[in-house]
């Protein structure tokens, strides 16, 4: 099958949806002739022109607010934030406006807004350019949160996000933009809210998402050589979470590790652990162990960043802990 980079898959999804629906309009910083800081809109300005691919000034509150208003009137804006870190500036528009309008106005309008934003560390980019805020937005009702881990999923899920009539935060990991993977040439979409078993296994379930999927798969390979069979479950959609998939896997393996890049307190991993505690505790044969960043801002120093962010070895150690194995 044809191989595409993650950012190419995103550009292709945008182009296809823009051709499919003229209400799909993009805006963000440097997404026009420059093609976007991560080349996710490369060539789109040339194809669709300045009225559908619009460059924005550095004002997250302003242009995200504009997206909320546009969506309320029937436009399907796809907004790119150059770094998801600045979503904090736009969070009033997302949390208090976009997330609530359908509810407050009795469903008379829809909110078909997509905000794409790069997340994550491992780039020595400093504390203000390494955040992953998916947990914050999963907490808020009225917002969907998607974090694809492969080019195939990036394209299929972005197309579904654009067609969805709710606010969707689409977090793309910076380290994944250069990931190459198979993407079918024919049209396809992937369902929002469906997790994917990236590696079936019988001994322990590793629930993960985004960039940590790769690290989890690597850890699973290491453990497989030691006779431990890990199941790696990629959530793909953080909210709504595929609870059934998580529960089914844990019921099968009896052991759970949750691996996420960001901080642990009140996070996605907390939610997964709570879900299993509530719905499948009788299937657990050991403690739930989480692999997360340490509870400090992500350091600029590569040495310190490596210490703070979770590693493959941390996942191996977590699996050993839940299985009560001595690590080798």
């Amino acid at each position: 099958m044809r191989q595409l980079f993650y950012n190419q898959a995103i550009a292709e999804a945008l182009a296809e949806e823009m051709r499919r629906d003229q209400n799909v309009i993009l805006w963000g910083i440097d997404i026009g002739p420059y093609g976007g800081a991560n080349a996710c809109t490369k060539g789109l300005y040339e194809q669709f022109g300045p009225s559908r691919v619009i460059d924005m000034p550095v004002s997250e509150l302003g242009y995200v607010g504009m997206g909320v208003g546009a969506a309320a009137t029937g436009i399907r804006p796809v907004i790119e934030l150059q770094f998801s870190d600045w979503i904090t500036l736009a969070s009033e528009m997302i949390i208090n406006q976009a997330a609530k309008m359908r509810y407050m106005f009795g469903g008379v309008l829809q909110m078909p807004l997509v905000i794409r934003a790069p997340v994550g560390g491992y780039l020595s980019a400093g504390a203000q350019h390494s955040n992953s805020f998916e947990s914050m937005f999963s907490f808020v009702p009225g917002i969907k949160v998607i974090m694809p881990s492969t080019p195939y999923e990036a394209k299929g899920l972005l197309k579904s996000a654009i067609r969805d009539n709710n606010t969707v935060l689409f977090f793309e990991h910076k380290k994944l933009y250069a990931m190459k993977g198979e993407v079918p040439e024919e049209e396809y979409t992937l369902p929002i809210g469906k997790a994917d078993i990236k590696r079936p296994g019988s001994d322990v379930t590793i629930v993960t998402y985004a960039y940590m999927v790769g690290k989890s798969l690597a850890a699973a390979e290491t453990l497989a050589r030691q006779g431990v069979d890990c199941e790696v479950l990629d959530l793909r959609t953080i909210d709504p979470m595929d609870r059934e998939a998580v529960l089914a896997s844990v019921k099968k393996t009896g052991h759970l590790v949750v691996a996420q890049e960001t901080w642990r307190d009140c996070s996605v991993s907390s939610e997964v652990a709570a879900l299993v505690a509530e719905e499948a505790v009788d299937y657990l044969d050991g403690p739930v162990v989480r692999v997360t960043a340490k509870d400090v801002p992500i350091p600029f120093s590569p040495v310190l960043e490596e210490y703070v962010l979770p590693k493959e070895a941390d996942i191996v150690a977590a699996v050993n802990k839940v299985l009560n194995r001595v690590s080798v």
Binding site: D203, R225, Q226, G227, V228, G254, V281, D282, Y283, L284, D285, G286, L323, N324, R325, V326, S327, V328
Partner: protein, 405 residues
Amino acid sequence: MAVEVVMPKLGLNMSEGRLVEWLKKEGDPVQRGEALFVVETDKVTTESTAQIDGVLGKILVEAGATVPVRAVVATILAEGEAADSSGRTAERPLGTLGWSAPESPAAHPAQEAPDPGIPAEPIQETPRTGKILASPLAKRLAAENGIDLGAVKGTGPDGRIGQEDIERFLADRKAAPAVRPVQSLPIEGVRAVIAERMALSLQTTAQLTLHSEVDATGLVSYRERMKADAQRDAAPVPGYNAILISLVARALKEHPRLNARQVGKTLQLLPEIHVGLAVDTEAGLVVVVVRDADQKSIAEIHQDLDRLTERALARRSQPDDVSGSTFTITNLGNFGVDSFTPILNPPEVGILGVGRITDKLVIANGKVAQRPMVTLSLTFDHRLVDGAPAARFLQVVAGYMAELA
């Protein structure tokens, strides 16, 4: 500070591993991640690596040995750090890993291992506190399979019971022969009395039993005559027991030491001869007592027995029916028993066991003859009666029996 190197647990079901080969020698510098030794399980062969930089200290498990997972096989010392002669580090004695052994340490006695340097109990049991630790899954499986968690040995941290432990328990239970439920009957009432008296009897006396096979022709022929008389007079036919009680009562008159009881340091020879007879009832053994048997005719004894036995079987015995015997007869002839060793009925000093009457070929007056024979078994308290007088008593009983012919 020294760090213990342990036999790794490489798979969920791994309980022990064979240390195939050491890749480092004592004193070799080792780096974190560097292979230390080769371990083999029933599933895989792999290298186990150092978890820290340092120098390989004392090797505690030689190549070729099989040890339980988490058994300490060596230590890694910091540069310049010395291990003491036993190989144990000064900071932390071996055997305090804080994990419980996956199996009883006794299952791996030291002599099984080729190196006497291996600690026989490399890992100490974590003492169990009152609460039984078990994973939720283990609890559910236990409930589904009707397992008492207290009976399951946990191999997790702090002795926590996991799925693996439950499955092992179930497998063991399956392998063991099915345990059928035990029916528990209370030991109370008549049973409790019997139990107490039998134990008391054997614990406080010196019992000896003499067996003597005697000719029962007199006994049998006498009863046949009584039968004939009974038919004629429409009178009841006395059983062998009534006849035996009469004979024994007469013999006791001649041997008063067997109609006696010990009280303190005296042997009291009793003026009355009350002969007890062991009766099998639903509730258990009951000894009914024919009072003054020496002064009663066989017919009277038979009447007494009829009345006493009927009440005993109906569990309506009066106190006097079952107390005060001075000597006891127990007859198992009806059950096909030839001879046995009766137990004294305390505080009596003698008890006569009667076996079945069987026709046998015997030599009588130089000729082979068929005779009904019976074995009498006399148990007596040898503290108070010697063997010869006891034997003489049996001879007297046999003599009276012969006189009946």
